[in-house]
């Protein structure tokens, strides 16, 4: 018996799995976001630069076509309209600022010197300057802090989206894990109950479509088999204790009688009685082993081709004198049938059925053996015109060691029909007890392969 603590809602294992999954997903998201951020930044600045150079072209064209005053006005207008995002500065050859957002020309920014990052009057500018006609110089730049602010907002919303997805995943993961854990726990719970000795424990399963349903079904089939074997073993043990004790006790008494008896004849009689008890004990023992081996499938190795027609004829020749002594007829109607089977067990099974029939058929009665085949199965039926077995007693009749009437002593070991049934199971068939109106009809149905 395995001792173990009851796990919590998900158990340590489930929580660990979820935490691990979350960590992996978060790392993947961060990497993805970093890639998007970089790429986005590059693309955005490419676009900005293109726009800036177009703006420079446009303003240069305005100067060309409309003169310096028009250019100054345009720059003023642009600077006003564009807010703080775009930064403009226009100066003349003397260095005086004519228009724009700034009051002084940013230090370090050279005309036609390409893109330059400069700081001026609280702005963080990424700008480019161009020398125009009449000694004028124009700078157009972008305020980087505005761009970064925008980027920050985009990234924040992406993080929010990721957080939403992560929470959903977390909940879904928890749900799936707890579902799986519940199923696994129910299966392992069954196994634990069985190992604790409750062989009737079975897993619940709704259908075969769900994989857990398939496992549960397979587990239940296995448990059915185990329960059969264990019950069989228990019955055998109980039976051994009960039905072997009786003849052993009697044997012991006979031996004692023999020891104290006066005279050869009395000793002889005691010895004979003890020997008969010993034989009977061995017989019971052999029968139990036959049943146990057949039920355990061990006898399958010893199977070979069996000619059932010859077998029933042999049984007839064996029992004919016994039937005739009771004035009974023992007839055989057999079709040719060869199966892969366990010959000794089949012989014993058919013999038991015939012996029972002879025992229960009245003096002058009829006992018949029929053998018929229909492809997938072969059937050996033994019928008599005795009192039969009432419908409610037929199930009991198949139980090991059951005797139909308590007074039925003689050599009825009570194992007869149990052996027949074990034989049927070994041959993937079954034993059916039916009303022969009047009498009993026992049908031993056998699989042919």
């Amino acid at each position: 018996m395995i001792a173990h603590a009851r796990p919590g809602w998900l158990g340590r294992w489930g929580a660990a799995i979820i935490a691990g999954m979350c960590a992996i997903v978060l790392v993947a998201c961060a990497v993805a976001l970093w890639l998007v951020d970089n790429e986005g930044q590059r693309r955005i600045s490419d676009q900005e630069r293109e726009a800036v150079s177009l703006e420079l072209d446009l303003l240069a064209q305005i100067q060309d076509e409309e003169g310096d005053q028009a250019l100054v006005r345009s720059v003023e207008r642009h600077a006003q309209l564009d807010g703080s995002h775009a930064i403009y500065a226009l100066r003349d050859a003397s260095g005086k600022l004519l228009a724009g957002d700034l009051t002084t020309w940013p230090a370090g920014l050279l005309p036609d010197g390409g893109w330059t990052a400069v700081k001026a009057e609280g702005f963080d500018i990424d700008g480019v300057a161009r020398r125009l006609e009449n000694g004028l110089e124009l700078m157009v730049g972008r305020d980087r802090s505005a761009l970064e602010q925008f980027q920050g907002r985009v990234i924040d919303s992406v993080w929010l989206a990721i957080a939403l997805v992560a929470i959903t995943c977390l909940l879904a993961g928890a749900a799936v894990t707890s579902y799986i854990l519940a199923k696994v726990r129910s299966l392992s719970g069954v196994a634990e109950r069985v190992s604790a000795g409750d062989f009737s424990a079975r897993a619940q399963h709704a259908g075969d479509n769900d994989p857990f349903g398939q496992i549960a079904k397979a587990q239940n089939l296995m448990l059915d088999r185990i329960e059969d074997l264990v019950t069989g073993l228990r019955t055998v043990t109980d039976s051994l204790a009960h039905d072997l004790r009786t003849p052993l006790a009697r044997m012991r008494r006979h031996i004692e009688d023999g020891l104290v008896a006066d005279g050869g004849e009395a000793k002889q009689a005691a010895l004979e009685a003890a020997l008969a008890d010993a034989d009977r004990t061995i017989g019971t023992f052999t029968a139990l082993i036959d049943i146990a081996r057949a039920d355990g499938g061990l006898s399958r190795e010893a199977m070979s081709e069996v000619d059932l027609e010859a077998l029933v004829m042999d049984v007839q020749s064996l029992f004919l004198p016994m039937a005739e002594d009771r004035g009974q007829t023992l007839t055989v109607a057999a079709a040719p049938a060869v199966i892969t089977g366990h010959k000794p067990l089949l012989m014993q099974a058919v013999s038991n059925l015939v012996h029972n029939a002879i025992k229960y058929a009245p003096e002058g009665g009829r006992v018949g053996i029929t053998l018929s085949a229909d492809g997938a199965t072969v059937e050996i039926a033994v019928s008599d015109n005795g009192p039969g077995i009432s419908a409610d007693q037929r199930e009991q009749a198949l139980q090991r060691f059951h005797r139909l009437s308590p007074g039925d002593g003689g050599d009825g070991l009570g194992l007869g029909l149990a052996i027949v049934e074990a034989c049927a199971r070994l041959h993937r068939g079954r034993l059916l007890l039916e009303d022969n109106a009047p009498g009993l009809r026992a049908r031993l149905v056998l699989g042919t392969s």
Partner: protein, 227 residues
């Protein structure tokens, strides 16, 4: 010269039971108790038959058997084992045993099997007739007479009588009869074989002063001129 038999059995009381019985029957008997000893004895000396247990210290009986058969030793071997199930019997015969007897056994059954084995392997010319007193059986014409009078027997009755005649003066158990005549091994109800025997007895002994077929109470049957 008497037949030499090797008895391989690790249980001392069982070994003594078999050895004593066989010596009383006039056999020369050697007994060993382990697998390696058995293998050594059986290869070093000549025996007419070996009676071999399966559960032996050192080397189990089936391995001894396989080793002997592998070494081209074809001494007749009867396995005598507590592994008595029909399936184990098949295993034993497959491994090369000539016969297989489950424990517990009756000594008369071992005698019968040993007799049959030695007769089969003896190389003697096949007998054509058997007799007991004024009872005669011709194995070629399958005719049975007693005191010159023909007795009509069914096929199975003939086979039963043949077994009894071959083991004249010895007890044959019901189980052995079932096995020899019907080739089936299971525990017959006493009354089953008895019905056959009472019919045979009627045919053999009715109308004659001296009966030949005797019931040995609790054990089996014996065919003999002396009661």
């Amino acid at each position: 010269m008497p037949f030499r038999i090797l008895v391989v059995e690790d249980d001392a009381s069982a070994a003594e039971f078999v050895t004593k019985g066989l010596r009383q029957d006039g056999y020369t008997v050697e007994a060993v108790g382990t697998g390696p000893d058995a293998l050594h004895m059986a290869t070093a000396e000549h025996f007419d038959a070996i009676i071999l247990d399966r559960n032996l210290p050192g080397l189990d009986g089936l391995s001894v058997l396989r080793a002997l058969r592998g070494a081209q030793k074809d001494t007749p071997i009867i396995i005598l084992s507590a592994l008595a199930h029909a399936d184990e019997r098949v295993n034993g015969l497959k491994a090369g045993a000539d016969d297989y007897l489950g424990k517990p056994f009756s000594f008369s059954e071992l005698q019968l099997r040993l007799d049959n084995l030695l007769r089969r392997r003896g190389g003697k010319a096949a007998e054509t007739s058997l007799a007991c007193g004024d009872l005669a059986m011709d194995l070629l014409t399958r005719r049975v007479t007693r005191g010159g009078k023909v007795i009509d027997l069914l096929q199975r009755e003939f086979q039963i009588l043949e077994q009894l005649l071959r083991h004249k003066d010895r007890v044959i158990t019901r189980t052995a009869l079932l096995e020899q005549v019907w080739d089936y091994r299971f525990d017959p109800h006493t009354s089953l074989i008895d019905t056959h025997m009472s019919r045979l007895r009627k045919k053999l002994d009715d109308g004659f002063d001296k009966s030949l077929l005797h019931t040995v109470r609790g054990v089996g049957y014996r065919l003999s001129e002396t009661p």
